[in-house]
């Protein structure tokens, strides 16, 4: 441990010490459950040890996937007058146009013992319906992509705050010595739309120490930036170089006594190990045939969502704390009948496979999986009611996600929206609540995980958020 770690730990201890009256033993224990701190406290009591967040960037439509609205068949084509919107914001894209109710062209059926209603677009998910918890009553604040994704990631619409993965890494530390605690992977969707920008700040550490930032694993070039030795430097050469620099660094440490020097040696060694472990991890050729049957043939192609799901499982096995996938291309303003099934084709089988795979390995109980986008879509069509080419605009007031494993009650559907999926009528779950619940599953009290910056204690949920007890196992 270096001095900074020491300071960090002191900060957390000090915080916990100061507020120990108010903090549950759960959070206290798990806050300290860092590898380095394991001796200081017992094991974490949270059900989940890690999170796999399957972020669907662009915002998938709830009407075509998880929020069945049969009434729309009758109301199809009806004009929604201004009174319907109660002065709510609409995007510039449809603010001026006529708002005609648009039904979904896809069939929904009840699945599993739980009778979860899932559309025909997600047949594989339907097969694991009893393992997931569908939340139909998600709510957010932002109406445009970047602020909405930023809000999901950091609890704030403007850039600059730490991302949820960074908070988790800061709060729980790492369980692996060969890999970063927070790993991000991105895949392109099959829809042909311009994709939303995904900036590095979305998995940044904000004002937290930068060691907690997400590390993006790339599918092309080096999987981690600068991972590969340059041409002309072999692994044995690298070993020689490190041996010498470590030896010289150690001598330097003897002179100046700065623990930071020792950390530098350790980090260079970790880098060296990563040079071997990351390519190993990324190389899925040794996976048995049935893995690819489960995740689909796409899982053989690096950079696909399927390949990333498989990697997510491998990362989970290695003890990576927060694994975040982004799948782009869900922004169906038009041509939904062409693009949405294509997107579902990308994600349905691998997402379901991930659940099954983790379950088979006995890891689903301590892995929290979350699947969903940054907001929902409108009940009215964008660009006319042509059912071959219709689309839907952004809608922040309700949308659907699903969760599985890691302390979440399986086989339930939580929350209800009105006939238009315009408003939540039962059990709203705000993004802040999702954050609070996610941290709770990890054994962390969202109100206690704070960091002091510029004179204020910040937390992921700001001054909001409530744990949604109803969906806890």
């Amino acid at each position: 441990m270096n001095i900074q770690d020491l300071n960090l730990m002191q900060t957390r201890r000090e915080l916990l010490g100061r507020t120990s009256a108010g903090i549950g033993s759960v959070a206290l224990a798990s806050l300290l459950n860092d590898k380095d701190m394991a001796s200081a406290a017992g094991p974490a009591v949270g059900r989940a040890k890690r999170v796999i967040y399957l972020f669907q960037s662009g915002a998938p439509s709830q009407f075509e996937l998880l929020d069945h609205k049969p009434k729309l068949d009758e109301l199809h084509g009806k004009d929604l007058g201004p009174e319907f919107f109660k002065g709510q914001r609409q995007t510039g894209m449809t603010a001026g146009q006529k708002k005609q109710v648009c039904r979904s062209i896809y069939r929904f059926e009840k699945h599993g013992d739980s009778g979860a209603e899932i559309s025909e677009n997600l047949p594989h998910l339907a097969n694991v319906a009893d393992d997931i918890c569908i939340v139909r009553s998600m709510q957010t604040q932002a109406i445009n992509h970047d602020p909405a994704i930023t809000f999901f990631q950091t609890g704030f619409q403007q850039a600059g705050r730490p991302s949820m993965g960074a908070w988790v890494s800061y709060g729980l530390g790492s369980e692996t010595e060969d890999l970063p605690a927070y790993v991000v992977m991105i895949s392109e969707g099959s829809s042909k739309r311009d994709s939303q920008a995904l900036y590095g700040r979305l998995w940044g550490s904000g004002f937290l120490p930068s060691a907690h930032q997400g590390v993006k694993f790339r599918s092309q070039g080096d999987p981690v930036l600068y991972l590969t030795n340059p041409d002309g430097i072999s692994r044995t050469q690298r070993r020689d170089i490190l041996n010498l620099s470590n030896a010289l660094n150690r001598k330097h440490f003897e002179q100046v006594g700065d623990p930071e020097t020792i950390t530098r040696i350790r980090q260079a060694e970790l880098a060296f190990r990563m040079q071997a472990s990351v390519p190993d991890l990324m190389d899925t050729s040794s996976e048995p045939e049935h893995t690819f049957e489960m995740y689909g043939e796409d899982a053989r192609t690096p950079g696909t969502y399927a390949a990333n799901c498989l990697l997510a499982r491998r990362l989970a096995e290695q003890g990576v704390r927060f694994i975040q996938l982004y799948h782009r291309g869900w922004d169906q303003h038009g041509d939904l009948p062409r693009d949405l099934p294509a997107q579902c084709g990308d994600v349905d089988q691998p997402s379901a496979a991930l659940i099954t795979d983790l379950k088979q390995r006995g890891m689903l109980d301590d892995t929290l999986i979350i699947w969903g986008g940054e907001f929902g879509r409108t009940v009215y069509a964008q660009g006319g009611l042509n059912m071959d080419r219709y689309g839907r605009d952004h809608h922040p007031r309700c949308f659907s996600i699903w969760m599985a494993g890691g302390g979440i009650k399986p086989g339930i559907t939580y929350g209800r929206t009105d006939d238009f999926s315009f408003d939540v009528v039962e059990n709203p779950m705000h993004v802040y609540d999702l954050h609070a619940t996610m941290l709770h599953c990890l054994g962390v009290d969202h109100e206690q995980l704070t960091y002091k910056y510029q004179g204020r204690r910040y937390r992921l949920t700001d001054v909001h958020g409530e744990v949604v007890e109803d969906i806890l196992a």
């Binding site: 900074q4 600059g160 900036y199 981690v224 600068y226 880098a271 004179g455």
Partner: protein, 1030 residues
């Protein structure tokens, strides 16, 4: 329900003592205590605006209505019950804060028990901190220099040391010895120039026997041009300088670099800090006619800017107003954080919770920046042209201001009567919305830039018809807030003819005077006697205004024959032109039988009358004199703009600007400040009172409004703020800069929160030293270099950084300064260091940003449509100092980011210094460092003679400023031998290594030797010692 008294006593045991004697001690409670409790613990949610839980506690009446208080019955009062705990459960209120103490709960209990009396006319308000009893607000007094004694030689060379030693001795600690000369020259060269000393410089200093050797060294470094580059980098972090705008689109900002160069030059010229501050806030006003006066304004514009919120969304929309509010917030925050170390931004949504700043103070500061935006601004290096440009801009602003005053004068002349009339007209207009609005709006001509271009539209009845009267129905479109009467002509004629070639007969002429917008009242045109026509035409001679353009629009034209039948219905329509944008706009809509009809037609009758009155009133107000004045002013404004357009183009800097070319919805204010109001909870939709320009109070009852003349210009506001900041008596400014400069020499400030001197910030570790430095700084004429010299001349600065376990134990952060500071070099310096050592560094100052090596695909990974591609530069541009590397906020240079370079999206005052495997990978594998290593190896072969010993020594001296030790030698030589063997067996590998990076390998050198020395150079570039300032 548990009796509340017993629950009171159930809570913390210590409190029971107080409560045991409760019944007897219950006296008439003091309302002030109740008031302060309610204000501080309840009112932030239960106020008139928010009414959480649907009640407010601001007034007695509201408290009674709330039903939360039953006077005389604490047990039945919800207010008390919710703050008490039930068993082990935490109380449910206050929702987000610590529970009330038992003593506090008792105050409420007693007050309710005694009847909950509320003195008449007392209204509660949310708490504001008013106390100035805090170190940073106290005047800077030149503190006496402590009288201390010590045996340590070389100590006490400066008053600084006496302050430091005084504290150390009080803690029973001893300072460290002076560091050796090699360490010292390395330390001070990094600190002052950001680059390593050359071996020759090291030897010269080490061997310099002159007593003023150190002074000479300092003077040389302060005079080096690289000094400005090094210190500019600190400042650019504070102001969040970058080459893109940030936010979603992160558009390029191609002209921000002249500000960066201005900062470099200002440091190199040792510009007095007052001037530097003033130029950056109001250089155009305080230093008119100078290019630095404009360039400095890049400060105001340096931070991120929301392209969508400004360009794509108009200021009239909520999102547009939010964007502009946040933009001003950024300006205020940047200014006050950077110069005064005050977290004023905390007062945007509520009064500052810890420092004595109210929302009104905060918004008064916003008002200082109410007229400026971030945009490109011309500056001239020719003072004559700069002067002319300034005069013309002043004339333009003057005219714009006078025009606004004239409008106000006209409004005032109408007095309350006109105001009331306008309000009533507005209310009525809102009632005249159409019922059942259909999407088929009507006919819409093409847009033109002038209102006097005639436009016509006509109906072909197919045969000659005896027409008795014609009705024109206006359109309704919310565009630009116009609504009813959209596009209805201001002057027009209704005409007709039987054959297409005939002369048009006038049916009725409306061109004699302006026709008042009829909104949705049908307008009738009637010939003197029924007239036979086949074509009926409406010709507009003066068009309606839309948004900076003009056009003709009509919803329906009805033409009646003598039987009263509308013969126009469904008939074909011709027009001079038409925008044809179905379904809303098309010619055929004019006769489709669809037009907007008013919901409450009776409102029109009233409206007519009111408008008659208004017309009458305006006739008196819009006197010919005023109208003429208006015309003159408009001409003056336009003439100045035209003249500016004719000036030579000048150069451009991205800066605070009031005059610039419109871009979409992003329009210049022309120097006319926007209205700024206090916003409840920072919400743009809940404006409270308007504010005038002001600052923050520095002591109780101090005047915090800026002294401005009634007719002041917007620039006067900024100038007044700049002068307030640079007032020698402002205690914040001088402590702030003295602390920053200290921080950049020691790795941490005397105050560890350099942007926050408030109660949530840190207190100074050496308050007297800080004040002494601030005083010296003021007395030196705000001379930054002099202050730095003062600091580096001290024994405190020159101490050895060696850490003993005892020191780490007693003072891990080194806040008492018992040793020298030691920290890893910041990102830019790690790269610059490698470039300098290898001889690759190109030392040219300034110019547009450059794009050195970066892994492929990084910009593409985040791409948003239409964002330019990353294109790597070549040649010299690969080897400039990192300060010049192109900075894209969303994708900062990765090899710098791994060493904690900030993204420049939020202000970073204190870069973290992490130590991660990702950073280790940069040093190992980034072509920048591999190339530097092979060039360093080549240098050793070419410059250091033939032997291994000489060559290795050469590399050591360049990288670490010292020779190889006897202990190190065998280890190094062993690896060198292994590398030789490795590359001898694999000459192709050696060749490949020597081709990393774009600088050509020196073919005259043996490639196996070159690769082997490159291996050693790699080790040296990776060393902790090499990348650490010791």
């Amino acid at each position: 329900m548990v009796d509340s008294l017993s629950r009171l006593t159930q809570t913390p045991a210590a409190i029971c003592v107080i409560l045991l004697s409760l019944p007897t001690l219950m006296a008439e409670p003091d309302f002030d205590a109740v008031k302060s409790l309610l204000e501080s613990r309840c009112l932030s949610c239960h106020n008139t605006q928010d009414r959480k839980g649907d009640f407010s506690l601001e007034t007695h009446e509201q408290m009674t209505d709330s039903g939360q208080v039953s006077p005389g019955s604490p047990e039945e009062s919800g207010l008390l019950q919710v703050v008490l705990s039930e068993g082990n459960e935490a109380p449910s209120m206050p929702k987000d804060g610590t529970p009330l103490t038992a003593a506090e709960a008792k105050v409420l209990h007693d007050w309710i028990a005694a009847g909950a009396k509320w003195p008449a006319s007392v209204t509660l308000s949310q708490p504001a901190v008013t106390s100035f009893d805090w170190w940073s607000f106290q005047p800077i007094r030149n503190p006496p220099i402590p009288d201390v004694q010590t045996d340590t030689a070389s100590w006490l060379t400066s008053p600084i040391d006496r302050f430091v030693l005084d504290r150390l001795q009080k803690k029973g600690m001893q300072p460290s010895d002076r560091a050796d000369r090699r360490t010292l020259i390395r330390r001070v060269t990094y600190d002052l120039t950001g680059l390593p000393p050359t071996p020759a410089q090291v030897e010269a200093f080490v061997n310099d026997k002159a007593p003023n050797a150190w002074t000479k060294l300092i003077d040389r470094l302060l005079d080096a041009p690289q000094y400005g580059e090094r210190w500019a980098r600190h400042w650019l972090d504070v102001v969040k300088y970058a080459d893109t705008c940030g936010y979603d689109k992160d558009k390029l900002r191609p002209n921000s670099w002249p500000y960066r160069d201005y900062v470099i030059r200002s440091f190199n010229e040792d510009k007095p800090w007052t001037q530097f501050v003033q130029e950056q806030i109001a250089g155009d006003v305080i230093y008119p006619g100078t290019s630095d006066g404009i360039l400095g304004l890049g400060f105001v514009a340096a931070g991120p800017w929301d392209f969508i919120g400004h360009v794509e969304v108009p200021e009239s929309k909520i999102d547009g107003r939010v964007a502009r509010n946040l933009d001003r917030d950024e300006m205020v925050t940047n200014t006050l954080n950077a110069f005064c170390s005050v977290t004023i931004q905390c007062a945007r949504c509520h009064n500052h919770k810890f420092d004595p700043f109210s929302q009104e103070h905060y918004y008064s500061l916003q008002s200082v920046f109410a007229a400026v935006d971030r945009a490109e601004r011309v500056y001239d290096t020719d003072p004559k042209i700069e002067q002319r440009r300034r005069e013309l801009t002043a004339a333009q602003t003057d005219a714009a201001n006078k025009l606004r005053n004239l409008e106000k004068e006209i409004a005032d002349a109408g007095g309350d009567e006109l105001k009331q009339l306008n309000a009533e007209i507005k209310t009525l207009s809102d009632q005249t919305n159409p019922k059942d609005k259909r999407p088929e709006y009507g006919y819409h001509s093409a847009l033109v830039k002038k209102n006097n271009i005639a436009k016509w539209v006509e109906v072909d009845l197919g045969e000659s018809v005896e027409v008795t009267h014609i009705i024109l129905n206006a359109c309704h479109d919310e565009f630009a807030g116009i609504n009813s009467g959209f596009g209805f002509p201001v002057r027009f004629r209704v005409e007709g003819r039987i054959n297409a070639g005939d002369k048009l007969q006038v049916i009725q002429d409306f061109t004699g005077s302006d026709f008042r917008n009829p909104r949705l009242i049908p307008v009738e045109a009637k010939p003197a006697a029924p007239v036979a026509v086949r074509f009926v035409r409406v010709t507009a001679t003066v068009l309606a205004e839309r948004q900076n353009d003009y056009m003709l629009a009509l919803s329906e034209l009805q033409i009646f024959d003598s039987t009263g039948k509308n013969v126009a219905h469904g008939k074909p329509v011709n027009a001079v032109d038409s925008i044809e944008a179905p379904v809303r706009w098309r010619k055929s809509n004019l006769t489709d039988g669809i037009w907007p009809q008013a919901e409450k037609p009776e409102a029109f009758v009233k409206l007519e009358k009111l408008q008659d009155t208004q017309d009458e009133l305006l006739k008196h107000i819009n006197t010919p004199e005023r109208m003429q004045r208006k015309q003159h002013l408009e001409q003056a404004r336009d003439k100045a703009a035209a003249e500016i357009g004719k000036l030579p183009k000048g150069r451009v800097v991205y800066a605070a600007a009031t005059h610039f070319n419109r871009r979409g919805n992003f329009m210049p204010t022309q120097g006319v400040p926007r209205t700024v109001k206090v916003l409840h909870r920072g919400n743009i939709q809940q404006p409270l009172d308007e504010v005038s320009p002001g600052v923050i109070p520095l002591r109780a009852n101090s005047d915090w409004k800026l002294p401005l003349a009634e007719n002041h210009s917007e620039g006067d506001r900024r100038a007044a703020l700049a002068k307030w900041i640079t007032d020698p008596n402002n205690p914040l400014t001088w402590r702030s800069i003295a602390n920053r400069i200290w921080q950049y020499h020691f790795g941490r400030g005397l105050v560890e929160s350099p942007n926050d001197f408030g109660r949530m910030g840190q207190q100074p570790t050496h308050p007297k030293l800080l004040d002494w430095l601030a005083t010296e700084f003021i007395q030196s004429g705000w001379d930054v270099k002099a202050l730095q010299k003062l600091i580096v001349m001290s024994a405190t600065y020159q101490q050895s950084a060696k850490m003993t376990p005892e020191q780490i134990e007693r003072d891990p952060k080194n806040s008492l300064l018992a040793r020298g500071a030691r920290f890893r070099l910041p990102a830019e310096m790690i790269r610059d260091n490698a470039l300098a050592i290898s001889g690759l560094l190109v030392k040219r100052l300034g110019g547009p940003s450059v794009r050195p090596y970066q892994p492929p695909g990084l910009w593409k990974d985040v791409v948003y449509s239409n964002v330019p591609k990353w294109k790597q530069d070549h040649g010299d541009k690969l080897y400039r100092r990192s300060l010049y590397t192109f900075w894209k906020r969303s994708v900062p240079p990765p090899n710098l980011q791994m060493f904690d370079a900030p993204s420049r999206e939020a202000c970073v005052l204190h870069r973290s210094r992490t130590n991660t495997p990702l950073a280790a990978l940069v040093l190992m594998n980034d072509p920048t460092f591999v190339e530097a290593a092979r060039k360093l190896g080549e240098r050793a072969m070419k410059e250091a003679g033939q032997g291994d010993e000489e060559r290795l020594t050469f590399i050591f001296r360049l990288a670490t400023s010292r020779r190889m030790t006897d202990e190190e030698r065998p280890l190094v030589k062993n690896v060198l031998a292994r590398a030789r063997k490795h590359y001898s067996d694999r000459p192709l590998e050696a060749k490949k290594l020597m081709q990393i990076g774009e600088s050509p390998a020196d073919d005259s050198l043996n490639v196996i030797e070159a690769a082997s020395f490159a291996t050693i150079a790699t080790v040296l570039l990776n060393l902790d010692e090499t990348i650490t300032r010791n």
